[in-house]
Assembly symmetry: C5
Homo-oligomer: 369 residues x 5
């Protein structure tokens, strides 16, 4: 995932002009038109064939998948009476999540996340725009994959609430489906952080810094998706003359609660990740210190002993009295070993008493309850 | 405690649909119906038997314990006229604390904490939902254990205020009981942090990092319980046309004060925990440095001496004048020891003068008044 | 000072019920009743004897010292027409500072600090509640010691402003006296931080970490006392229909300015304390590094020399040509010393050139202008 | 780029007085006057020749490039009826981005960024002031280079929207063009941060600290450009009686979205840069520790062995029984080597078992997935 | 500069009472009375001689320098009809910057900074109070030095705007002059931070920690001066029924912009200073590590060689076959040197290959572009 991707405005282009990024997926439209009793589903490969909804008694959901042909989408948008600026926002990726009110309806831009069985490593972020018209909802997504299948099933299943409420309820359901998609991601990160915790608190050989950094970076992306959406939805719900029905507002408020929870949990996760980095660093540092301490103790014991051995390797003229008399002693060699053992063991005991040796083996046991 | 648990929405499910997590406790209802003079307590194992409160002169508290049967709770909720979204929030765990107003009443979702004699190690967090209807209060909790016994005793004891005020007062008391439950937790953490302080400031062999991390993580959970509740209660109390009586508002304001104090103290504790980590790390680092310094001093003294001893172990042809004349001196050996002692003690004195030895023994004494 | 102390609600007790902490000081009341001309001072050991102020032309200040008898205070409160919740807040310690409006008056809870000649080590925090009734002010404090003596002197001295203004002015003066008490504490901490600065920037043997931690902890307590008071006073002063006279509002605004300054300065002090910790740590680390560097240089110079000496201590058969010919040289020993001095001084010069030695002696001089 | 540059007020000068910084570029004016059908472009080297727009049916864009002659600009401003304070803001560089309303129009001060092919190393920041008059827009920029060419092309191209809307639409387009110029900068920083990531996570010899510091400093400049603009535009759009047409407001709202995204992304980048510093430091520290550990292990193994060799170099009188009998053994030398190999390999195996050797070679492989 | 200075309230003194700090400068008043045509300047050593401005057609600026005689100032204030609380704020130093409205006018308290040629080391902070009366402005400053000379020159110069506008315009100009005085300070700090950057990124022997700490502490003082002023001015300008003329409001808005810029830049500087500390610490740490690494490599190479030399210094009985046969070899000594060179160079090459040597010399070159 790139840190920052932006395709939505070529420098100096007039706002509302559409520039299609090369390599985009060719758009196709799948249209659901329904009321309480009827449901008609049509798929159009050519956006020009999508009819303008005219029957005010029916709800129409036009779902455009792929943004590879900006002109076709713009033409469709104009036919639907959508402001060019809104169409441009829908086609250009990398927008900040937002809610904009136009005369002809409300545009909601948000980020949809697709998660597969690989967990946090297989996340795909995609921009989805939802335009709420009087009797229809137009959604534009980047690819053919989405999180809307259960919603489509509910429509097909003929559930009263969704079939009998207005287009605003349909739009609220679309947004709700996208926000619900954030929770599996949170769960995946929760699992990953718990793995990090286990790793760090028990295995001091682990090297999780690079991975923790990646996790923090991805959590920042999640926050950038949820935080602006929270503000936008709050503003939409606080407006005095809302175009939304009471039911839709109730459901959007519920969705807003979910967004706020996503923000809360993401923040907590970011803090935990930072704390884990600190704990890891200090544990590794602690361990290195313990190792160095023990190694240095070995040197500190043997260096004086080597000095001792060096003394008795000196070639002073022992025929002169007073020069290295120990060399002539009967038990000189035993005496030497006695001194060595005394000094060595003495230092060892001293260092152990001072606590300079004891840390290493018991550390990992003590640090976990 | 898992970092993030969420059971409240299956992806793509229609909002308000209920999915029961397997393994939940079968719900049972305990109903208290009372006015100033009468009190009737009934317990129902089958939620379908719970009667709808009809007598407007009495207050009814329906307390459902266990959420293992979502359908039964939903049916009960519908019979009580509670909005399906509200019922769904009550049954699905892991909600963000919140206050939602519905036409039929007010839903308050919060987190209850149970603490046993084990202190901070035995905390159990549980979600409690409180629905305030016109003459009744419906509470839904996860398990059979709760913090409401003193409240029940007060009702049974026939205290005027609770028996004679409306259902909103009862709801306020329920919320107050839950928030009061946060304080013993704060006290437990206060004790634990003071233990950490003692440990860290006096015992440099302690390894509190893992435990401090766990404490910070748990304090984050406490904050996630209290922070959104504060906002929700503030919004409820600030509303112009409140459905709450003046007395209930007064008591809720008091509860809000408590929530704010919980937030304040939790924040303080989190900062203190971070400071303690820093103090611990620098004390341990300081101590390791002192140890290494002393050990290195030992090497720095004996390595030159070993060099000296090595010199007099050399096999230069001493018959040639000028080659190692000291070896032939009468007091050569004494001379050697003289040089060794001079160099060794000289370096020792020098290092001590420079302050390179003195830190270790006095550190812990100096760092505490 | 404990991190968190709370006596104000026994779990599950009805709000407003009073539980006296054992060991509290028995309450006594000192009553001042005055108008512009008269002043009557009475002291009551039994709170039941305190008369209810009835003369609307006089101001009465009932000051209760000691909270050891909750029932007596509650009875007094009820006789004065104070809401039970307010009475309970007055008696239970550990409250968050706050301003609550009741029908019968305004309750202000704040924290008073007593400082003696020991400076920051002798701070005593105490809760004071001020209830402003129509013609009287009731204050409840934890002990017999307080900061009100100068205020009492001003009343006794017959100063017009305080004798002739209403009870709200008296309450404002009481709050002002308490807030004024925060400044000597700030001054004490200012002195202490400056001592820390001197210590850290000049004396690298100091061990101020434990003390700095304590200071940060105490500053957090000060902030917890001032921050909520700021919010509460702001809200009181912003209310449209204030029960306070213009003069009292003017004085309270002045007090609010002082509280805001306390908050500002406390925040600054906390940041400075954190910066000082960082400076101290890096100075100590710097110094340790310098020491270790010098010690390691000693080893790095003498270890090669010892190797040299070892060579000429080898017992190769010098009768075979080419085996250690230096041993037979006429000036072999001098040659050896020449090599040693060349190598040793060469390394020393090299290390000094590379700047590996120079840090230690000049550091402390350079780091202070 | 200097940390802080300020030319806009000489100390004590009356506000609104103009002081031209020496060395500025001599101003020239390029004027575009247009309506739906006509377009007249004139360039004036002498500002005094610029005519005051009088034809209310036409839009005039007066673009002044260079601020080397403050008097000329002031005279022009006065002729256009612009408040002296506004003129002074336009001429003096280093302003904080802002939106000010005057009787005669709206002044918008912002910072324009020019990026060339060198990427982040070739950024040039420049102040641009936009004054929106009734039928004209006056822009003042520091140099002759700008980001307005595409906008000029659109006007020349005769696009209806810009030729037929009012001067407020033109001003909105100018602001939009400047804000659009921030995105290439964000993209450049995105690329740079990704390079840093690669560098740090894979190459532990890299030394990116200085560069990362520079990047953080430049990101701070970007934030200082975008943050105040966000507030100013929000305030302008929230005003009840806006002088802007609905279309212009719609476009400015879009521009505001872009500014908010710039702020968001900049904040993310700053946090990532900080995290990268931490990751780098700990990786370098980790690696140094590994190296030191291995080196210390070498010493810890050979120092005891040297002690052993020293023993058998001692000159004890082997004619006395018990003094160094090994020297007389038949296989004494082999015995010595046996002991050496046993001790050396034993220590090596021990250290490897304890995990004191294994970190170094596998670290970089483990830390990247 | 002391961390916290407070002279403005003696504990327990009635608010509004004046206590003069001993050692203050005796106050003198310089009065300018002017209208469009006339200007009269008088200086009074005795404040009692200052006449009360009565001529409503003239503007009077009474500037009191020195606060050594509180009683005189209070009497003057009372004669001018200034509220005692306001007078007390003017006389007592160490106030938080603020704007207070009184019936008789507006009091603005701010902090003036005097900078001399010594740059940041010669800053003097001083409190200035500005009281805006109906036709006069009263300013009180701590000493005789101020930043008002250019303003006085403008008045003397007879500039229409200042001579012909009201007293509110004069007050705005006074405030503007003080705020303008902050910019040279920002520039001085900008220069200082750039010096720190150069020092830290190029010279690793520098010890800037103490100085950086001092800079952070002074920047905190600057922020404490600007931050509250920003809030106070914002509140003054947002008031619906402002006593200020439109022109004065326009100029104050400009001043507010400057204050906001001071706050922005100060915050940036504080962050940069913190970043610089981090960069410095890690560069020093890096360098120490490099040094230690090289030194340790020397030991790690020579210690095995010393072991080798020790071997051939052993006194095994070489008459026994197999005991140290190398000693009898013809080219034993050469063989020994061959082994030494092989081992030594082999280790050196190995360490260099592993990158354990290469860091030191290239570091400083790499870290700067």
């Amino acid at each position: 995932m790139s840190l920052f991707r932006r395709t939505f405005t070529k420098r100096g282009a007039p706002p509302g002009e559409i520039q299609v990024e090369p390599g985009g997926i060719a758009p196709r439209a799948s249209v659901m038109e329904f009321d309480l009793t009827d449901l008609r589903e049509v798929s159009h490969a050519d956006l020009a064939e999508v009819p303008i909804p005219t029957d005010a008694s029916k709800i129409t959901w036009v779902d455009i998948q792929g943004i590879g042909d900006g002109t076709a989408i713009r033409d469709l948008g104009l036919r639907f009476g959508i402001h060019p600026l809104a169409v441009s926002d829908m086609v250009h990726m990398g927008q900040r999540p937002k809610v904009d009110r136009y005369d002809s309806g409300i545009l909601v831009v948000l980020r949809m996340v697709l998660v597969d069985e690989r967990g946090v490593e297989g996340l795909v972020w995609e921009q989805v725009s939802v335009f709420l018209g009087p009797t229809w909802v137009l959604t534009v997504q980047e690819t053919h994959e989405d999180v809307f299948d259960p919603l489509r099933q509910r429509i097909r299943g003929g559930r009263k609430q969704i079939r009998g409420s207005g287009s605003d309820y349909l739009a609220a359901m679309v947004i709700d489906a996208i926000v619900d998609g954030y929770f599996p991601v949170l769960e995946a990160y929760s699992d990953e952080l718990e793995e990090f915790e286990d790793l760090i608190l028990t295995d001091s050989e682990a090297e999780p810094l690079g991975d923790l950094y990646t996790t923090k970076r991805e959590l920042a992306a999640l926050r950038r998706a949820a935080w602006p959406l929270r503000d936008a939805l709050q503003r939409l719900l606080r407006e005095s003359s809302s175009p939304l029905s009471a039911t839709s507002q109730l459901h959007l408020r519920d969705t807003l609660d979910h967004v706020m929870q996503v923000v809360d949990v993401t923040e907590s996760f970011r803090e935990l990740a930072s704390s884990l980095v600190d704990v890891h660093l200090s544990m590794v540092g602690q361990r290195t210190n313990d190792v160095m301490r023990v190694l240095t103790v070995i040197s500190a014991i043997f260096i004086p002993l080597t000095f001792l051995a060096g003394i008795y390797g000196m070639n002073f003229d022992t025929t002169k009295p007073g020069n290295l008399p120990e060399l002539e002693w009967k038990y000189g060699y035993l005496f030497f070993w006695g001194v060595c053992l005394t000094v060595g063991i003495g230092l060892l005991v001293l260092f152990r008493r001072l606590g300079w040796l004891g840390g290493a083996p018991t550390m990992s046991a003590e640090s976990n309850r």
